[in-house]
């Protein structure tokens, strides 16, 4: 499974568990519109940390916080070997 698929699957899973409406996931979708609130996003990051062994946010510099789903995937791509 590609990294992108893993991330999308995790987001969909968490949104479903939280009972949030799930728009189709696309790279240009804003995280704010992804159906996840901050708690949901926190859960996604924790689960990805378990699956991938990395938390790329821990090395984020200020201001580089991902805005879109594409940014989010890229952040993980830059952190995984």
């Amino acid at each position: 499974m590609t990294l992108r698929m893993t991330i999308f699957e995790t987001i969909q899973q968490v949104a479903a568990e939280l009972g949030k409406p799930q728009p189709p996931l696309r790279e240009d979708l804003h995280l704010a519109d992804s159906g996840l609130d901050s708690l949901g996003l926190a859960v996604v990051v924790a689960r990805l940390e378990d699956r991938l062994g990395v938390d790329p946010f821990s090395r984020l510099v200020d201001g580089a916080f991902p805005m879109t789903l594409g940014d989010f995937v890229q952040l993980y791509e830059s952190a995984t070997p």
């Binding site: 939280l18 926190a42 990051v45 689960r47 946010f57």
Partner: protein
């Protein structure tokens, strides 16, 4: 300042005076000592009187040696500092200093050059006549607290009276109880059991460090254990061994951690004829109170009600206790530092009123902050533990870039869900885990606010217990 009180009786005199069956004993895995033989049994070097009036560091390498030494030393030594089994050597110099120690009694290995007189305790009881005084000292008993992580351990000063004042007195109906415990008597929780057995006409079965839980339970069952105590974590581990049915106790008690409904119910199912009680006690506060109605938490009408010498107050949501069993102070700090103006000890245990009952929600220092919301791990563990396929769980905080922290859960499921190791598990074991994880999360979501629902559920074989038998809670 004179510690002598002529009316006082030393532990050995009280032990021998307490009525009990002829065959009373104190035993561990290797040795069984008859109580009636104690007047001619010693573990201190025979023929001398080295401990009289001394402040003694008691470093016994087994619980049985410790028990026998305590029986010899009370009333003779000025002070007994009781080393827990896991006291780090690094702390010894400070302990010797704080305890004003002028004699070390050890049956194990200690670092050399501690700069104090050292005598060997005999590992097995020898024949000899123990030192006896008609005018026994009011010996100080110093115990270490179990709750601290790192730093110098706190040394709490008790006397035999403060340790035993709340114990039921008077003769027992029927044959003497046979006490046992998962606790170590070198700590407060186990010390209670030791003294109850000694002073209440009972016998005592002690665990050995190297003994697996299943073997201990089988041995306790063979020796006829009737009264047995441990933490909720000890009990969950006992259930996991599959040997919990080896004992048929009439009295089971949980303390030292929050007893949730799941473990209380499971123990009552296992031992339908037993009293299943949970009690609140801490090294500083002494035993607070015992709840015997089989429900978690405690009735609200206990608060403010100074029943059996114990007063209970709730201040800022945390439980405070005042009792005659409270310790005199810390040896190595300001003696009054844990008593408030009213003489209450703040236990640090948080409670919440639901209906007519207070429920424990966690420890002050165990707080997890999820996006500004307070979460106590015990509350979530209590929910997860209600799931019939869960044996035990531990909830922790994990730092998180979005909300500061999230809640995560380690869960030991019933063995069938662990039948195979990760990576080699056949599809059905894996799918069982996937289903169970969903069920646990659904379970939590139905009963808890969203921020309290674990972000991740990890299945594990076992969960570590501290030497005091509590879940290890590293501060996130």
């Amino acid at each position: 300042m004179n510690p002598r009180r002529p009316s006082r009786l030393a532990l050995r005199d009280r032990l021998l005076a307490s009525s009990g069956p002829q065959e009373r004993f104190i035993s561990d895995e290797a040795t069984r000592v008859a109580v009636r033989g104690l007047p001619s049994t010693v573990v201190l070097p025979p023929g001398s009187d080295p401990a009289s009036g001394r402040s003694v560091l008691l470093a016994a390498d087994t619980q049985l040696t410790c028990a026998l030494a305590l029986i010899e030393l009370d009333g003779v030594a000025r002070r007994i500092v009781i080393c827990p089994p896991d006291l780090a050597d690094d702390h010894l110099p400070a302990v010797l200093e704080s305890g004003d120690i002028d004699l070390i009694l050890s049956s194990g290995s200690l670092p050399r050059s501690l700069g104090r007189p050292l005598l060997r305790l005999s590992r097995s009881p020898q024949s000899g006549v123990p030192k006896r005084s008609d005018d026994p000292l009011a010996t100080e008993w110093v115990l270490f607290t179990s709750g601290t992580t790192g730093g110098e351990p706190k040394m709490v000063v008790h006397t035999l009276d403060s340790l035993s004042s709340h114990l039921p007195s008077g003769p027992l109906a029927g044959p003497g109880p046979v006490w046992s415990t998962f606790y170590d008597i070198r700590r407060y929780g186990g010390m209670q059991v030791f003294l109850r057995a000694c002073l209440g006409g009972g016998s005592l079965i002690l665990s050995s460090a190297s003994e697996p839980s299943a073997a201990f339970l089988a041995r306790a069952g063979l020796c006829g254990v009737s009264h047995i105590l441990g933490t909720p974590s000890h009990w969950r581990r006992a259930i996991m061994t599959g040997q919990a049915h080896a004992i048929r106790p009439s009295y089971v008690r949980l303390s030292g951690e929050v007893a949730d409904q799941a473990i209380l119910t499971r123990l009552q199912q296992l031992y339908p004829d037993a009293i299943v009680a949970h009690a609140f006690a801490s090294t500083e506060a002494g035993v607070g109170f015992e709840v015997r109605d089989g429900l978690e938490g405690f009735p609200a009408d206990l608060v403010g009600n100074s029943g059996v010498g114990t007063a209970i107050a709730i201040v800022d949501g945390s439980l405070r206790l005042r009792s005659g069993a409270s310790a005199a102070g810390y040896l190595n700090r300001n003696p009054k530092s844990f008593l408030d103006d009213g003489g209450f000890v703040d236990t640090g245990d948080l409670v919440e009123l639901r209906g007519d009952r207070y429920h424990f929600t966690g420890r002050k220092e165990g707080l997890i902050n999820v996006g500004g919301n307070k979460v106590y791990p015990e509350e979530i563990e209590a929910i997860i533990n209600q799931h019939p396929d869960v044996v035990i769980s531990r909830v922790k905080g994990r730092r998180n870039p979005i909300t500061g922290s999230v809640v995560t859960a380690d869960v030991v499921p019933r063995p069938v869900f662990l039948s195979c190791r990760a990576g080699t598990a056949p599809v059905d074991a894996l799918s069982g885990q996937v289903r169970l994880r969903h069920e646990i999360l659904d379970f939590c979501r139905a009963k808890l606010s969203a921020y309290k629902v674990p972000a991740t559920v990890t299945f594990v074989d076992s969960i570590a217990l501290s030497p005091a038998g509590k879940l290890v809670r590293s501060i996130a």
